[in-house]
């Protein structure tokens, strides 16, 4: 009987009223590698952070070695032997490897004076354990990503960790570094260290994990021994609810509007697709799969290394944002606050900023003309002419998104790239946005819809492309495909012989 060292029951957590966790339960045995899986936003990282003491649980209990504990911060967790390695490695790039190991480490009692020899000895011991043959005096910024990963693990070991949480540790590693990591994980396991392994990659889970816990919508669905569950089952558990895509309007796709072939950029490899007039083309894929990079390339933000594009059958090159706009291609960015809105400006100004020149003869803004151009987009919104002057920050997330829709639609574009337009907005506003997408398709525009939510893609799209690691891995007819099929291609490398 394996010995349980960590158990969590009915943990809840809300951020600003949004429930990230609604009753998660989880248990971990000594010396096991336990996978944590789920779609983006299912609550994996919140749960990891709660275990690591970085986030405080709203409700629920956490026990370590059978004793209930309260973690008031990462240092509390550290003292109990819990360590976390974040996906975006939280190392100090300008400090040396040894300094990174020793800093804020309860195992290395540092006086006021730095004793370099002792520091290097301390670091050297743990670097050896992870099999990293580098000088402890090197600055972390000079290491490769794989080496940084190992330094982060060495740091966890140096804290005497018994539980290590790894958040998508292989997402930025190449094959040989992955092998090295797996060997290290096996060794840690043999020494009784328990590892919580957060990952999307099915093959890794089946290779190195003992048990798997699936999360969905902030709850844990269940825990199974890896040997007793199939990949298809896992995907079904992650996706959960069955969704009927019946509410999509009937529409006829027109002639080909946009054709892209061999598009290669910093983040994309050989992407080809066609988009028809009046069609909604879905793009499924995990964060970082290249789905947002495709939008950046189409509006000229990312430089094209290779590839060819035609619009209405004529060659077109979106080599700058203004050029792409002139071609009639617009993007609704993924991150409303970072890439979309100017938060200190008014609703009106946010709507018109991209096309102000067109409504300002001789560069002079005509406020009346500006407001008249925008008002039609707010007919269904309870926005009055006067409130157009209110700061955009006063609007709800859904209405802010509509402001960005208005910005995109103002110049009557032909191609719209909508990058996760329903992210972080409430259910009612989502329905409004589905209606807008439907209307755009009826008007004969070409819509590309990126979404993290598969039911959304199934509901809104005619066809769905699946992307992974900068490539298109599958193409489906939205009417016949299942969520499981999409997830398979979003997470797994393509098996030979599969249709692409």
């Amino acid at each position: 009987m394996p010995q349980e060292i960590l158990s969590i029951s009915d943990v809840e957590k809300s951020y600003d009223g949004v429930r990230a966790l609604r009753g998660a339960s989880f248990s971990l045995d000594a010396g096991e590698v336990h996978a944590l899986m789920g779609e983006n936003g299912a609550g994996k990282s919140t749960l990891s952070k709660i275990i690591a003491g970085a986030v405080r649980a709203g409700r629920g209990t956490l026990t370590i070695d059978g004793q209930p504990v309260v973690l008031n911060g990462p240092l509390d967790a550290q003292r109990l032997g819990i360590s976390i390695i974040y996906q975006e490695l939280d190392l100090f790039p300008n400090l040396t490897v040894a300094e990174n190991l020793a800093i804020a480490n309860h195992q290395f009692a540092e006086g006021n004076r730095v004793r370099f020899a002792e520091l290097d000895r301390f670091a050297g011991r743990f670097l050896k354990q992870v099999g990293l043959a580098i000088s402890p005096c090197r600055p972390v910024a000079s290491l490769s990503i794989g080496e940084m990963q190992l330094v982060a693990i060495a740091r966890a070991l140096s804290m005497n960790a018994r539980i290590i949480i790894m958040d998508e540790p292989t997402s930025s590693l190449f094959d040989d570094s992955v092998e090295r990591l797996f060997r290290l994980i096996a060794e840690l396991k043999s020494r009784g260290v328990a590892i919580i392994y957060v990952s999307h990659k099915m093959d890794e889970i089946f290779r190195i994990c003992d048990r798997v816990t699936v999360m969905r919508d902030g709850s844990t669905v269940g825990t199974w021994p890896v040997a007793e569950i199939s990949a298809a089952d896992l995907i079904r558990k992650m996706v959960g609810r069955e969704w009927k895509p019946g509410e999509r309007g009937v529409r006829e796709a027109g002639p080909i509007l946009l054709a892209v072939s061999g598009l290669t950029t910093r983040k994309l490899r050989n992407v080809s697709f066609e988009l028809r007039k009046g069609e909604v083309l879905g793009i499924a894929g995990l964060v970082g799969s290249g789905r947002s990079s495709l939008g950046a390339a189409l509006i000229g933000l990312d430089a094209w290394k290779r590839g060819h594009m035609t619009l209405h059958g004529r060659p077109a090159a979106p080599d700058s944002v203004s050029k792409a706009f002139a071609l009639g291609i617009r993007l609704l960015p993924e991150d409303r606050k970072l890439q979309g809105l100017m938060m200190q400006m008014s609703i009106l100004e946010n709507c018109t900023i991209a096309d102000l020149g067109a409504m300002a003869p001789h560069g002079l803004v005509r406020r009346g003309r500006e407001a008249s151009a925008v008002l039609p987009f707010f007919r269904d919104l309870s926005l009055k002419r006067a409130s157009l002057r209110a700061p955009v920050a006063t609007l709800s997330g859904g209405n802010q998104q509509k402001v960005l829709f208005a910005r995109c639609l103002l110049a009557n574009p032909e191609v719209l790239f909508l990058d996760d337009p329903t992210r972080g907005i409430d259910v009612g506003a989502k329905e409004d946005i589905y209606a807008i997408i439907e209307r755009l398709a009826q008007q004969g525009k070409g819509v590309i819809l990126v979404s993290s939510e598969l039911p959304e893609l199934l509901r809104c799209c005619d066809r769905i492309l699946v992307m992974r690691e900068g490539e298109i891995t599958a193409r489906f007819d939205a009417a016949t495909v299942t969520q499981e099929e999409i997830m398979t291609f979003a997470t797994n490398p393509v098996a030979p012989g599969e249709p692409v």
């Binding site: 509006i299 933000l301 700058s320 944002v321 203004s322 792409a324 706009f325 993007l331 960015p333 970072l338 890439q339 979309g340 809105l341 100017m342 938060m343 200190q344 400006m345 008014s346 100004e349 900023i353 991209a354 102000l356 020149g357 300002a360 560069g363 002079l364 803004v365 406020r367 002057r389 209110a390 700061p391 910005r407």
Partner: protein, 338 residues
Amino acid sequence: MTAILKRASFLWEQSAGERRDVLLSLAALIAICLLAIAISPTAFDGSRIFLELGNLTDILRQVSVIGIISLAMTFVILTGGIDLSVGSILALSTSVVALVLTRWNPGYAQPVEIAAAMLAALAVSTAAGAFQGAVIAVFEVQPFVVTLAGMIGFRGLAKWISNNANIDIGFGRDIASTFAAIFRGKGVIIGCYIGLALIFGLLLSWTVFGRHVRATGDNERASRYAGLPIRRVKVLVYALSGLLSGVAGILYAAENHQGNPNSGIAYELDAIAAVVIGGTRLSGGKGTIVGTIVGTLMIGVLTNMLRLNNVDSNVEMMVKAVIIILAVAVQRQGRIAQ
């Protein structure tokens, strides 16, 4: 009157909330004026010296040079940048205008030669600013670093072309004297400030360029996604800053009867102070020209009040420091309360 105010509201109100900021700084200005009136020394007939027309116009004349520089500084800060080189560019401008007036004698008509000298100074100043803007925009170096280098480099250039000596502009009947006589007039200096303030106020509120300036400072990444010409905006704001430093330099040269490569030291700090007191955020995106004018006047009235009461000029600096902190802290509290 209200109709006029409503029409003019574009000057201070791009979006709701800015009016509050401006009203707040206006209230502070009025408070300082009332204090100045209250403690003003009196003339023989019992009238307050502070309120004499001569004194009030003196305040305006004294703030004009910094005032003009701070107009363009507002644009720079709105984009999220900073321009530390304005004092050095002012010195460069005084040197160029004095050099051309005194060393260049092609024998054209007086107005032509004066115009040529001024144009030369403005061209050099604008080019200096645009160059910095180009470095900032193209190489994406922080504005602080680039204009710090500019502050050192353009000071050096000013000293080099003038052999590190003041170039006196005569008091006789020559062209240089005519130039000084024209541009040292109170009315001309104040007129320049008011005219430029109007132009820059309109530029910020009425033009596509002004909107782009605010958008760039508000969220540069979003501006890139919206296809705004960010690089052009940046080059332009620093070019404008150079241009206005050049104008300030011409007025300075006329007023002091010399081209002075050591003039304008620490002017950048006074200009930034005026902008910040006026409610413009150092992080960019929000601010108004009216606010900057109010900020400039606040410093001007304060200085005048202290001088009329024979307060030590060192104490004056300390009081200024307190005012800057107070003004910004009060605005910040107001925003939090909102």
